[in-house]
């Protein structure tokens, strides 16, 4: 069975996730079998009902628990998701992750164990509400982690802010120097499903991927590496991966933001933000075990 692409759409309550989901369903239902996962920690179940009212064809998995918020509860999420996949066999899965969700933990569990044999992480989107984000402080705390690990950051409701846009973009860049930033209103942007998403993000100018055996994998730990060792580590693995991205804590107390595609390795040093090292790779050439072993050897 070909692996199913899994997409994350995160963002805090009211940022426009459900609007975005509706657009995706409108665009693809009929053409593709879409599986949607929503967690109803927030009153997202209302959105669930609303989505179903649209009469479009998709399957919905509702997580009863705010599960995707805390790693303690991810175990149950794994079981539900597995069952959902076996039952509906969707072509694509999209999770609407609430503002409380930890997207790295989600990426990590879908890239491990039996789930990894069925799905892979295809893209990670974070939607921010320009108006709220501009209000500084507390809001940012909650979404900063989602911004950090996103491939695409959608700044929504840009019509509600004036010249704060540049500040917002700078803030975003500070947390995630490599993400693509899209500005929009009413989440009116194109979303690429499945392998098309991979092609788009991971090697826009390379031919379509042939092999179905894609693995996504996540390294997350408290280890640190020297800048030189990081370069060597990436030199070894980047050519074998469609993409490697994330953050690595350096021995000298800084954090390195990393983004690699086949032939390019980009490292930007940032202030240490005291989170664990978090690296995501997408590859057909290696497994998490091999990659992780090698990572540890370089530390």
């Amino acid at each position: 069975m070909q692996k199913i692409p899994f997409h994350i759409i995160s963002g805090f309550l009211g940022s426009g996730k459900t609007t975005f989901l509706k657009r995706i369903i409108d665009q693809y239902s009929g053409e593709k079998k879409i599986g949607i996962i929503q967690n109803e920690f927030a009153p997202a179940n209302i959105d669930g009902v609303e989505l179903q009212k649209s009469g479009k064809d998709f399957n919905l998995l509702e997580i009863n628990n705010g599960s995707v918020f805390c790693v303690c509860l991810l175990g149950d999420f794994v079981h539900s998701l597995e069952k959902f996949i076996d039952e509906y066999r969707p072509d694509n899965i999209i999770i609407e992750a609430s503002g409380l969700s930890d997207t790295t933990s989600i990426s990590e569990v879908i890239s491990a164990g039996r789930l990894a044999e069925k799905i892979y992480l295809a893209s990670n989107w974070c939607i921010i509400d320009a108006q709220n984000f501009a209000k500084v402080g507390p809001m940012k705390q909650r979404v900063s982690h989602q911004i950090r690990m996103a491939d695409v950051i959608v700044v929504n409701k840009t019509d509600l802010v004036g010249n704060e846009m540049e500040t917002i973009k700078n803030e975003v860049r500070k947390a995630n120097p490599f993400a693509e930033i899209k500005e929009t209103t009413y989440c009116d942007i194109d979303f690429e499903l499945g392998n098309r998403a991979i092609n788009k993000f991971y090697f826009s100018d390379v031919k379509t991927m042939a092999s179905p055996e894609i693995n996504s994998m996540v390294i997350k730990n408290g280890r640190k590496m020297s800048r030189k060792a990081l370069q060597q580590f990436l030199n070894e693995w980047a050519p074998k991966a469609y993409r490697i991205k994330g953050f690595v804590n350096l021995t000298k107390g800084k954090t390195a933001a990393v983004q690699c595609t086949f032939d390019s390795i980009k490292i930007v040093e940032m202030e240490n933000d005291f989170r664990p090292t978090e690296l995501v790779a997408i590859s057909t050439e290696f497994t998490l075990r091999e990659w992780n072993r090698s990572f540890k050897a370089y530390c």
Binding site: V71, G75, P138, K220
Partner: protein, 539 residues
């Protein structure tokens, strides 16, 4: 040292011989006793059975009584949605639905499911006086969120006074819950406030610090210990958490443990965590768990550190995984083995050992960490050393200390996973345990007997008569045939009379006799270097 004592020592920041281990067994206790989450969390008897089983299986230094952050919320009017494999979820928020704060009362000890926790604590206290019992209460901020719903985040700024009132009420609840659990016999009160990971330090200091600090004071005044549990991305608040003056902070995998260690120790507070819950403990295998445990132990160190999962264990965490952690915690040598292998394993080339141990002699390999510094390894080597001479040269033994790379290769090639291990002719015979002399002798003898049997079965021999004189050759052949008949042996006799062929055996003048023994060593494959060496040695 008994668990409770050890934990107290770690909390007091005194260096410990062994890091204390506290598996956060919540509904997992139901899993290991065959009860679903709902039945489990509603019955003190079932909790006692589950925790008792966990104590038996995981040999912990401390355990939570129940891990259920919905007890208080349920009593205060939040509706719960029960699930068979998870603690219940809070699905309604009374203050959001029009209930007034003034209508809410601080729970009595007999309310809702408080008796489950209190009675279970009492019974476990009586049953296990030497194990640290953690009494968990819902942190005031998380309880406030249960009561208010996600509105709390906007209200923090739009109506801070309302939040302050709710926090005051939740603190009263917390103080009361702490008291109930202390009176029931708990040693440590853990304030579990995961939702604080969602706010920034300034908000934390305004809306959490004063309230949580009050609960820690209550615990201190009762002469008990306290811990502040948080999960999620709370790195920004660790210092603020320490400033609330708990005796311990406990975190999950989202924060590097050494980061917390630096801050906590500076503040004179112990710390704990942060084994990965889902990817390792739930979904990984025993080896993954051992490695994870060693990684945490190394980062945490032996001062002020408590090894624990990052949060409530997923219900169906495989018990073998937790037992593997227990084993690592209690065994320095196993830790050392993991450390050594971890460094070397990525570059290992595995040998083909299928044919290993087919020489005449029986080869006993002892895989050790290093018999000079590792006591069990030393005893194992001694055991073999003593027994080997009794076999008068038939048994050859070697030590492979995995501090050296080729020994690691050898170990991996023989699929040995534990140290020390004895292999007899390449087969794992004794793992970790030093065998009694009689057992070791019996095992070697068994192998000798088996080899003998094989040897008898596979032997094929020839006698070659080398000579140019046909008469002499025939005469010699008759003698040989008579001898084989009298001995009852099956030996083929061949005559070689070609001078050049005779010379290849080093024979110039006949008659000469050469005996030849054939033995099949391998078939339809290319044997490894290591294996061929073994054959050559016996020639």
């Amino acid at each position: 040292m008994k668990g409770l004592e050890l934990i107290k020592k770690a909390f007091a920041l005194n260096p410990v011989e062994r890091v204390p281990w506290v598996p956060f067994v919540g509904v997992h206790g139901g899993f290991i006793t065959g009860v679903d989450a709902e039945a489990y969390l509603k019955s003190a008897d079932k909790v006692v059975a589950g925790v008792s089983k966990a104590i038996e299986e995981y040999n912990p230094d401390g355990v939570p009584v129940v891990f259920d952050l919905q007890i208080e919320a349920e009593i205060l009017g939040c509706q719960l949605q029960w699930a068979p494999h998870n603690p219940p979820a809070v699905v309604s928020h009374p203050l959001e639905e029009g209930v007034k704060l003034s209508d809410l009362n601080v729970p009595e000890i007999t309310d809702g499911r408080i008796p489950v926790a209190v009675n279970a604590a009492k019974e476990l206290r009586a049953k296990y006086p030497d194990i640290a019992l953690y009494g968990l209460i819902t942190g005031p901020f998380t309880l406030a969120l249960h009561l208010l719903g996600t509105d709390i985040f906007t209200k923090l700024f739009e109506s801070p006074d309302e939040i302050t009132e709710v926090m005051e009420f939740c603190t009263k609840v917390g103080n009361k819950m702490a008291k109930y659990l202390i009176d029931a016999g708990c040693d440590i009160i853990a304030v579990v406030d995961p939702m604080t990971s969602q706010i920034d330090p300034m908000t934390f200091e305004t809306f959490v610090t004063p309230y949580v600090s009050e609960i820690f004071d209550t615990v201190r005044n009762a002469d008990k210990l306290s811990s502040f549990f948080v999960c999620g991305h709370a790195q920004q608040n660790i210092e603020a958490m320490c400033n609330c003056k708990p005796d311990n902070v406990s975190i999950d995998e989202n924060i590097p443990i050494d980061f917390v260690k630096d801050i906590a120790l500076k503040k004179g507070i112990s710390f704990g965590g942060n084994m990965k819950l889902t990817v390792v403990l739930l979904m990984g295998n025993e080896d993954d768990c051992r490695e994870e445990a060693v990684e945490c132990l190394d980062l945490g160190g032996k001062t002020g550190f408590i090894l624990a999962p990052g949060c409530d264990l997923p219900m169906d965490t495989p018990p073998e995984n937790l037992k593997a952690v227990t084993e690592i915690v209690h065994d320095d040598y196993k830790q050392e083995v993991i450390r050594t292998l971890d460094k070397k394993e990525s570059t290992i080339e595995v040998l083909n050992m299928k044919d290993y141990g087919q020489s005449d002699k029986v080869i006993v390999d002892i895989i050790t960490l290093n018999s000079e510094s590792c006591a069990p390894c030393q005893y194992m080597v001694e055991a073999v050393k003593q027994v080997a001479p009794q076999f008068e040269g038939i048994v050859e033994w070697r030590e492979h200390a995995i501090k050296k790379m080729d020994a690691v290769t050898f170990m991996s090639s023989l699929m040995v996973k534990n140290i020390p291990t004895i292999c007899i002719d390449g087969k794992i015979a004794f793992v970790s345990q030093i065998p009694p002399k009689s057992e070791l002798i019996a095992a070697i003898q068994k192998r000798i007997n088996k080899k003998l049997k094989l040897k008898i079965k596979s032997k094929r021999s020839e006698l070659l008569i080398l000579g140019e004189n046909e008469n002499e050759n025939n005469e010699l052949k008759k003698i040989i045939e008579r001898a084989t008949t009298e001995l009852g042996k099956d030996v083929e006799v061949k005559i070689i009379s070609d001078k050049a062929q005779m010379a290849s055996f080093g024979v110039v003048n006949g008659p000469a006799v050469v005996s030849v023994k054939y033995k099949l060593k391998s078939e339809s494959e290319i044997p490894s270097l290591e294996v061929v060496k073994e054959w050559i040695k016996e020639l």
